[in-house]
C-alpha cells in the first residue's frame, strides 16, 4: 500500500484519506463499522476551551446534492476532549488532526497549546472558518490580516505543525492562503462549508433554527476544486483538500487540482463505509490511470512540464 503513503508536515500518512472534522465525531461511532487504523488520519470534531451545546435544532437541512448544517461547534470542551476522546483514540495507530476553534484569539491559543501536547495529536487544524458561530468565528476566516494573526499566535504555542482551514466565503481565496502562509502555517485544509439557507415552504421560515448553515457535499465540489487549483499554484505549503468527496475518482480530481491529501465529510453520513471503500479503490484507479504513486497526481492540472497523454478519443 506504500503507493498511497503521503508525508506531510507532522503527518506520516499510510494513505491520503481521512474523515473531515465534524463528520466523524471522535471516531467512536465509526469504529463499529471498521478498524480506524486503516485511515490515513482522523480530523476530530472542533474543540473549544469550554464545552458548547451548539445551536437549537433543526441543525441540518437538505439541498440538491448537498446539505446544510448549523451544529454550532457542539463539543465537550478541551479538557474532556483530551481526557476522554483523545485518550480513547490512543488505542488506534492513526494520527489525529485536532480541529481548533474559538471565538477569540485566546481561545485558539489555549486549545492549541494544550491539545497539541496530546501524544496522538500530530497536527492541528485551525478552524477559522466555521460559518455557524455568531461571535468572531467567521471574521478570522475572511480578513487576511486577522487570519495571519491568529495563525501566528497559534504557531507560537503549538507543539505540532499547524494547518489552517480556509473558508470559501471570500472574494479572494489566494490572499487568505498567502496570509496564513505568511503567518507560519505548515499547511492548508480547504474548503470549509459555503454559507447557505433553505426555507420551509409551509411556514415561510428558515428550516435551520440558526437560519443559515454551512453547505457541504457534492454540490460544493467544483468550488473546492477551483480554490485548491488557484491556491496550490500560489503557496508552497501542502493542501489537504475536501468538499464533496465521495469516491476514489473524486480523490484523484482533488489531487489533480493541487491537493496532497484529502478529507471526506458529508459522504460518511450517506455511507459509513465510504473511507475504507475509497482507500480500497484507489490503487485500482491508479493502475487504470497509469500512476505508480498517488503523489504523482498532485497539481497535474497546472504542472506544465510533464508529458500528459491525452486519452481523448
Amino acid at each position: 500500500m506504500s503507493r498511497l503513503s503521503v508525508e506531510l508536515p507532522g503527518l506520516h500518512l499510510k494513505n491520503p484519506v481521512m474523515p473531515a472534522s465534524g463528520c466523524f465525531g471522535f471516531g467512536r461511532e465509526y469504529s463499529q463499522f471498521f478498524d480506524l487504523d486503516i485511515l490515513g488520519a482522523i480530523m476530530i470534531k472542533a474543540t473549544t476551551p469550554e464545552p458548547r451545546f451548539g445551536n437549537p435544532t433543526p441543525r441540518v437541512a437538505e439541498t440538491s446534492s448537498g446539505m446544510l448544517n448549523a451544529i454550532g461547534l457542539q463539543n465537550p470542551g478541551l479538557e474532556k476532549v483530551i481526557s476522554e476522546e483523545l485518550a480513547w483514540l490512543s488505542r488506534y495507530d492513526v494520527p489525529i488532526i485536532a480541529n481548533v476553534a474559538g471565538s477569540q484569539i485566546d481561545d485558539y491559543v489555549k486549545v492549541a497549546s494544550e491539545i497539541s501536547k496530546a501524544g496522538n495529536v500530530k497536527a492541528l487544524e485551525l478552524n477559522i472558518s466555521c460559518p455557524n458561530v455568531k461571535e468572531g468565528g467567521i471574521a478570522f476566516g475572511t480578513v487576511p490580516e486577522v487570519a495571519k494573526e491568529v495563525t501566528k499566535a497559534v504557531k507560537e504555542v503549538s507543539s505540532v505543525p499547524v494547518y489552517v482551514k480556509l473558508s470559501p466565503n471570500v472574494s479572494n481565496i489566494v490572499d487568505m492562503a498567502k496570509a496564513v502562509e505568511d503567518g507560519g502555517a505548515d499547511g492548508l485544509t480547504m474548503i470549509n462549508t459555503l454559507v447557505g439557507m433553505r426555507l420551509d415552504l409551509k411556514t415561510g421560515k428558515p428550516i435551520l433554527s440558526n437560519r443559515t448553515g454551512g453547505l457541504s457535499g457534492p454540490a460544493i465540489k467544483p468550488v473546492a476544486l477551483r480554490m485548491i487549483y488557484e491556491v496550490s499554484q500560489q503557496v508552497s505549503i501542502p493542501i489537504i483538500g475536501m468538499g464533496g468527496i465521495a469516491t476514489a475518482e473524486d480523490v484523484i480530481e482533488f489531487f489533480y487540482a493541487g491537493a496532497s491529501a484529502v478529507a471526506v465529510g458529508t459522504a460518511n453520513f450517506v455511507d459509513p463505509f465510504v473511507c475504507p471503500t475509497i482507500i480500497e479503490e484507489l490503487p485500482k484507479l491508479l493502475d487504470e490511470l497509469g500512476f505508480d504513486h498517488i503523489s504523482e497526481c498532485t497539481g497535474r492540472s497546472w504542472k506544465q512540464n510533464e508529458t500528459v497523454t491525452n486519452n481523448r478519443s
Binding site: E29, F53, R59, S65, M67, P76, P218, F269, V270, P272
Partner: protein
C-alpha cells in the same frame, strides 16, 4: 450491531393515499431485537437526494429475515422510495437507536399505546410484543382524516383500538388526548410516538404515569456522529448535557429530555 445492506423488496403497497407499506428482506433483520428502532433508508441509487431518510421499523420477523416499515411519501426522498418495485434492492442502514422498553410493562398490566399519523407504525411491533408477554394493550391512534387511517384492523386484533381524526370524519373528532381524557380503562404505562405537539400534550397531561416518548428530529448521520439531532436533558435544560435522538433515543422516558 448496525449493518448496511442492500435489502430486497418483498412487498410494497399503498395502504392509504401516500402511505406506503414496504417489506424488505435481508440479514440485517437478525440484528433487530426491540420495537421502536429505526433504519436510515437511501431512497435512490444516486446522490440526489443526498441524505438517508429515518423510518421506523413497524414490525420484523427474524426467522423470515423480513421487516416492514410504513411511511408517508411526501418529499423528494420518500416519493422516490415509493417507486421501488418488488425484487429491487434498497440500501438500508440499521437497526438504529434504542426502542421502547417492553420490560417496563409487566404481565397482567395494561399499557396505553398512543400514536399520531406516521408515528403509529412502530407501535405495531410493540403491541405484538406486549400482548405476547401478557400485557393488555389499548391503542389510541390519531389521523388527519378518515382516508389517512391505516392498520386499524391489525391493531384491533391485539387490543381495544380508538381512532381520533382531526376533521371528525371517523372515530372521535379531535386529537388523541380527547380520546384519552375520556378513557374508562386504567393503565400504568404509556408508549407514544407522533408529532412533537402530541408528545408535549401527553407529557403535560400524564406526568404521573410511566410515559415513554419516541422523538423525531432532522438527522445527518443517524448513528450519533454528527450532532444534528441533539436535545437538552431534563435535568440540565439549558446546560451542556445532551442526548442524541438517533443513538440515545429515539425513545426517551418523559422528562429525560426537553421536548
Amino acid at each position: 450491531m448496525i449493518k448496511k445492506e442492500r435489502m430486497k423488496v418483498l412487498n410494497h403497497k399503498e395502504l392509504a393515499p401516500s402511505i406506503f407499506e414496504l417489506t424488505l428482506q435481508g440479514e440485517l433483520v437478525s440484528e433487530m431485537n426491540q420495537p421502536g428502532q429505526f433504519v436510515q433508508v437511501k431512497t435512490t441509487e444516486g446522490t440526489e437526494p443526498l441524505l438517508r431518510r429515518p423510518i421506523s421499523i413497524s414490525s420484523y420477523n427474524s426467522s423470515e429475515k423480513q421487516f416492514t416499515m410504513i411511511y408517508r411519501a411526501e418529499g423528494k426522498g420518500t416519493t422516490l422510495l415509493s417507486q421501488r418495485k418488488e425484487a429491487e434492492a434498497v440500501d438500508i442502514l440499521g437497526p438504529l437507536g434504542n426502542g421502547f422498553p417492553v420490560h417496563e410493562a409487566k404481565q397482567g398490566e395494561t399499557a396505553l399505546l398512543v400514536g399520531g399519523g406516521v408515528g403509529v407504525p412502530p407501535l405495531y411491533q410493540l403491541s405484538q410484543m406486549l400482548v405476547a408477554k401478557g400485557v393488555t394493550v389499548i391503542h389510541v391512534l390519531g389521523f388527519q382524516t378518515k382516508s389517512a387511517i391505516f392498520y386499524e384492523k391489525e391493531f384491533s386484533e391485539l387490543g381495544d383500538t380508538y381512532i381520533a381524526t382531526v376533521d371528525g370524519s371517523y372515530g372521535t373528532k379531535g386529537f388523541v388526548t380527547t380520546v384519552i381524557d375520556n378513557l374508562e380503562q386504567e393503565f400504568a404505562t404509556i408508549f407514544s410516538c407522533g408529532p412533537t405537539p402530541m408528545l408535549r400534550a401527553l407529557e403535560a397531561g400524564y406526568r404521573e404515569k410511566k410515559l415513554f416518548l419516541s422523538l423525531e428530529e432532522r438527522m445527518g448521520c443517524g448513528i450519533g456522529a454528527c450532532f444534528a439531532c441533539v436535545c437538552h436533558t431534563g435535568d440540565d435544560p439549558t446546560g451542556f448535557s445532551y442526548k442524541k435522538v438517533c443513538s440515545d433515543g429515539p425513545v426517551f422516558r418523559a422528562g429525560e429530555v426537553v421536548l
